[in-house]
């Protein structure tokens, strides 16, 4: 996540305001094109993470969910590393849990 925002905020090596303009536009247009403001994107990311966490243990520090452009098409990419589950009981509990709540969340999202 942090790497993505650093790229967007122009902390990558750049000189004049021309490259700032380009980076700002790339950020704005990703959101404009899918009509999803940054705050809503944050809410969506949190919800995605919540759903995944119902099934597997996630290493939240290294999660990266971001929008990407391929020509003029937008797509969402997610890198969500699992954290190793050492507790076997915990794993069994997850497997036996009814997944109805998780399905609802997916449908609403």
């Amino acid at each position: 996540m942090s790497g993505f925002f650093e790229r967007l905020l122009g902390r990558s090596p750049s000189k004049g305001s021309g490259s700032t303009a380009k980076e700002r536009l790339q950020f704005i247009l990703v959101h404009d094109r899918i009509n999803l403001p940054p705050e809503r994107l944050q809410a969506m990311k949190a919800e995605i993470l919540e759903v995944i966490s119902k099934y597997v243990s996630v290493d939240r520090e290294d999660v990266d969910i971001f929008l990407e452009q391929r020509d003029r098409d937008s797509l969402i990419k997610a890198e969500i590393p699992f954290s190793g589950i050492t507790d076997q009981d915990e794993a069994r509990k997850r497997l036996n849990q009814p997944s109805a709540a998780g399905d609802d969340t997916l449908d609403d999202g």
Binding site: K15, G16, S17, G18, S19, A21, K22, R24, L25, Q26, I28, L29, D32, R33, Q69, D71, R72
Partner: protein
């Protein structure tokens, strides 16, 4: 068949749509093409004054649509080019006086007689824009290397795609090579990277543009103007010719500048 209908639009106002329309029209006429320009900015007409034809208007687009005159009567012939015509916008009405269907019907009547029909769109994304793109075979999006203009261009490209008129080709107007060199202005490559559409022209900022509209003589008639050259190149590309982009960021003589900058404006 017949004419190709080309609409010039931008989203944002003041980026040079009318100047571009006038210059492309004149440049195509210079090439011997039969051209009619239509001002689709009902209520805020300007193409007539930029073309130097404002004193010869008797009838306008709305008169044609409402049946007060024949289409032929609203077509003003250019002084210098007998195969270049202008259909002016009404000045005292608003955009609702014309519908997209009216525009399609008018263009269809003109198609058999012309090689190009060039429509000057109003700014914005409302009725006037929808009127202007309705008959278009190709849309040219004019923008400046400036954040607000590029953002609006992106919105326009999205709307063109939604209306099956996209993606169109881009004209980057008012480019200042000196500022690009200093890193204080986005380059043509930056803008095509962002918008992901093809470029049809890069027009340098040129102090001759305002005097040319002051006198109603489009700058493309000035052989020595770089902006004029850029508009002539756009006209040739519209006509299907493969014309290299002007090299703006390197110093050197005029001929050296007209070397290949890059082929398509973007990777495909």
């Amino acid at each position: 068949m017949g004419a190709k209908v080309v609409t010039v639009t931008s989203g944002k106002g003041g980026v040079g749509k009318t100047t571009t329309t006038a210059n492309i029209g004149v440049a195509l006429a210079r090439m011997g093409k039969k051209v009619v320009l239509i001002d689709a900015d009902i209520g805020l007409r300007n193409l007539d004054i930029v073309m130097g034809l404002e004193n010869r208007i008797v009838y306008d687009m709305v008169d044609v649509i409402e049946g007060r005159c024949q289409l032929r009567q609203a077509m003003i012939k250019h002084k210098q080019f007998p195969d270049l015509f202008l259909i002016p916008a009404a000045q005292t009405r608003d955009k609702t006086a014309v519908s997209p269907t009216d525009m399609i019907q008018t263009a269809d009547k003109l198609r058999p007689e012309f090689d190009f029909i060039v429509i000057d769109s109003p700014a914005g994304i409302e009725r006037g824009f929808r009127n202007a793109i309705a008959p278009a075979d190709e849309v040219l999006i004019v923008t400046n290397p400036e954040v607000s203009a590029v953002r609006d261009a992106d919105r326009i490209i999205g709307l063109l795609e939604a209306n099956n008129k996209g993606p169109g080709r881009l004209i980057l107007n008012r480019v200042k090579p000196e500022m690009i060199k200093k890193g204080e202005m986005m380059s043509a490559e930056d803008v095509t990277d962002i918008l992901a559409i093809k470029l049809i022209g890069i027009v340098p900022e040129d102090e001759g543009v305002i005097p040319s509209s002051n006198s109603g003589t489009p700058i493309t008639l000035n052989e020595n103007s770089r902006a004029g050259q850029a508009f002539r190149n756009i006209a040739r590309r519209l006509n299907g010719e493969d014309v290299p982009f002007m090299q703006l960021t390197e110093s050197g003589g005029f001929l050296q500048r007209i070397t290949r900058l890059f082929s398509g404006g973007q990777s495909e």
